[in-house]
């Protein structure tokens, strides 16, 4: 019995280690290549580690602030993602409270109608959405990426579900004591739903940081675009692999912010994904 478990244990380890190697090698390759000179990349062929570590590529990347201002792009992305995330948390908490705690006629019908409409494939609304954003004067501004995503229903659904688990006795006794909805919301409910707000916030941050199709459509100004759209331009700017190190260095710089977020908030990510899929972790 034990022996059988041991064989399968080693098989599982072998498999997992192989998969993990395949998974990390591209990242390491991108990272180390960003420290190699073009001459070395061309002449030495594939090496996981550089012969000579150089930082020239990064110096060149940072100096190019006109056609590929990578720091500016990352700054744009940070502003967009942080602002979007904060607004998402505000919107989903007050709206979630409204749909789970306020009593008014047709509340659940309204909620599920909106939820149903939101399942409509978003490929259909993307062209008119561009027109609306254009009318609002938001093309080539951060608001094009910050505001439209606030209309989504997914996170509000999560908050509503989560609030159902918060005992109603708490707010009812406060209500008896004469507390208004605003007091109940800020003093009682908000502190209790913090976990689900962190989940909604994390997903919103990663989602807007990594969004690709929409920024490619709404940003044409090189100085205003977020980093995902900027990187699309790089293959041309750094001359179709004439400047491999700079290409890799830019990709690595773009990866760092979300990677740091993951390292600090790892446990929230796992519970976030499972909460989204309706699984108790």
């Amino acid at each position: 019995m034990n022996k059988k478990y041991n064989i399968s244990k080693y098989l599982a380890y072998l498999f997992l280690i192989t998969v993990c190697l395949i998974w990390v090698v591209p990242m390491i390759f991108g990272f180390t290549t960003s420290f190699r000179s073009q001459g070395e990349v061309v002449n030495e062929g594939f090496r996981l580690l550089p012969v000579n570590w150089i930082v020239d590529n990064y110096m060149a990347i940072l100096e190019n602030t006109s056609s590929a201002p990578i720091l500016r792009w990352i700054g744009n992305s940070l502003f967009i993602s942080i602002t979007h995330t904060l607004l998402v948390v505000v919107v989903i908490s007050i709206t979630g409270y409204g749909y789970s705690r306020m009593r008014f006629k047709g509340r659940d019908v309204l909620f599920f109608t909106l939820l149903g409409i939101s399942f409509f494939p978003n490929v259909v609304n993307i062209i008119p959405l561009y027109r609306i954003v254009d009318i609002l004067g938001w093309v080539n501004t951060p608001w094009a990426m910050i505001v439209p995503g606030l209309a989504g229903m997914g996170n509000i659904f999560l908050v509503r579900q989560f609030m159902k688990g918060v005992p109603k006795e708490l707010d009812e006794s406060a209500r008896v004591d004469g507390a208004s909805d605003f007091t109940i919301f800020f003093r009682i409910v908000l502190p209790l739903i913090k976990p689900v707000l962190i989940v909604g916030g994390l997903f919103s941050f990663i989602g807007s940081w990594n969004d690709f199709l929409w920024p490619v459509i709404v940003y044409t100004d090189v100085q205003k675009m977020p980093v995902t759209a900027g990187l699309l331009l790089l293959q041309d700017i750094y001359g179709n692999y004439q400047m491999v190190g700079q290409l890799m260095g830019s990709a690595i710089l773009a990866i760092i912010p979300t990677l740091l977020l993951f390292l600090f908030a790892q446990k929230y990510f796992v519970s976030a994904i499972n909460l989204n899929a309706g699984i108790k972790g």
Binding site: L16, M27, P121, V124, M153, A229
Partner: protein, 291 residues
């Protein structure tokens, strides 16, 4: 009591405005625009079913060719990537959840991290890996394949990158579901003489059917919107064999030259209908078979 009669609008009102402006109106307008001639800027002119007729039946039209080629390539992507994006994380999750395996969270993190990398950053790295002269693949295997410009290699680069960056979420869901399966079920299966594969098929899979249905439906719906990987890895080539429908829709509506947003909207509506029908069919079939 009177005061609270209207205060619910304070809580749900702002979001309703956002919803109407950024979801409801654009969705309705997207369907409306598909029946019009529209250049995105001036007001659209009604043309009835003309766009649909051109796309679906006019064999001389480039729109007809683009739609069917784009739909075919999108379906190839969905048909190959969805099974991979379900099966591979399922096997990895099972291995991680093996009773005696340690460092579970470490393995999970490594697999999950590429999902945090944006498509454009990942594509830059993968393009270099598959670059025919400088790339790791050809150097490593001593080959001289021009990966992104010959089939089936062009598709392979897209699938490899997609699986690498896209299975983390599903894997975490499967892991949590598998660890929630009652040990009693496995023990009684063992008493009946079931081996590991038998146990996986008759105990694990039925026990996690709801997360399975959820991930299959969500992964499929997401895969239909594929855009970034072919755009950056192959630019739709060779000879438009990896140009997916989203790429044509974007070019028609937002490409250089006159915008053909009405035609693009008709293609978008057709794609949307395919997504809805397939999602509904999947949900129906899987739910019925597992009940």
């Amino acid at each position: 009591m009177d005061k609270s009669k209207f205060s619910h609008w304070f809580f749900i009102g702002p979001h309703i405005i956002l919803f109407v402006v950024f979801i409801l109106i654009p969705s309705i307008y997207g369907v409306y625009a598909s029946f019009t001639n529209w250049n995105l800027m001036t007001s659209p002119t009604w043309v009835g079913l003309d766009n649909y007729r051109t796309i679906l039946t006019n064999q001389d039209s480039s729109f007809h060719h683009e739609f069917f080629n784009g739909m075919k390539n999108t379906l190839i992507f969905v048909g190959v990537s969805v099974p991979l994006m379900v099966a591979i994380p399922l096997v990895i999750a099972s291995a991680i959840e093996h009773k005696k395996v340690k460092f579970k969270n470490f393995f999970q993190s490594i697999i999950y991290i590429p999902g945090l990398i944006s498509i454009s950053a990942a594509a830059l790295i993968w393009s270099l890996i598959f670059n025919s002269q400088l790339g790791m693949m050809n150097n490593f295997f001593g080959a001289d394949t021009v990966w992104t410009a010959t089939q089936p290699y062009a598709w392979m680069t897209i699938f490899i990158m997609t699986v690498w960056g896209g299975i983390g979420g599903n894997m975490i869901i499967y892991r949590a579901s598998i660890s929630n399966v009652s040990q009693d079920l496995y023990e009684s299966a063992e008493i009946d003489g079931a081996g590991p594969i038998r146990k996986f098929i008759s105990v694990t899979l039925p026990s996690i059917r709801f997360p399975l249905i959820y991930t299959v439906v969500m992964t499929t719906a997401g895969s239909f919107n594929v855009f970034g990987q072919p755009l950056m890895m192959t630019n739709g080539g060779p000879r438009e064999s990896t140009t997916v429908l989203m790429m044509y829709i974007r070019d028609l509506a937002f490409g250089s030259g006159q915008s053909i947003a009405g035609m693009a909207s008709a293609m978008a509506v057709l794609l949307g209908m395919v997504i809805l029908i397939i999602s509904a069919a999947q949900y129906y079939v899987m739910n019925r078979n597992s009940a």
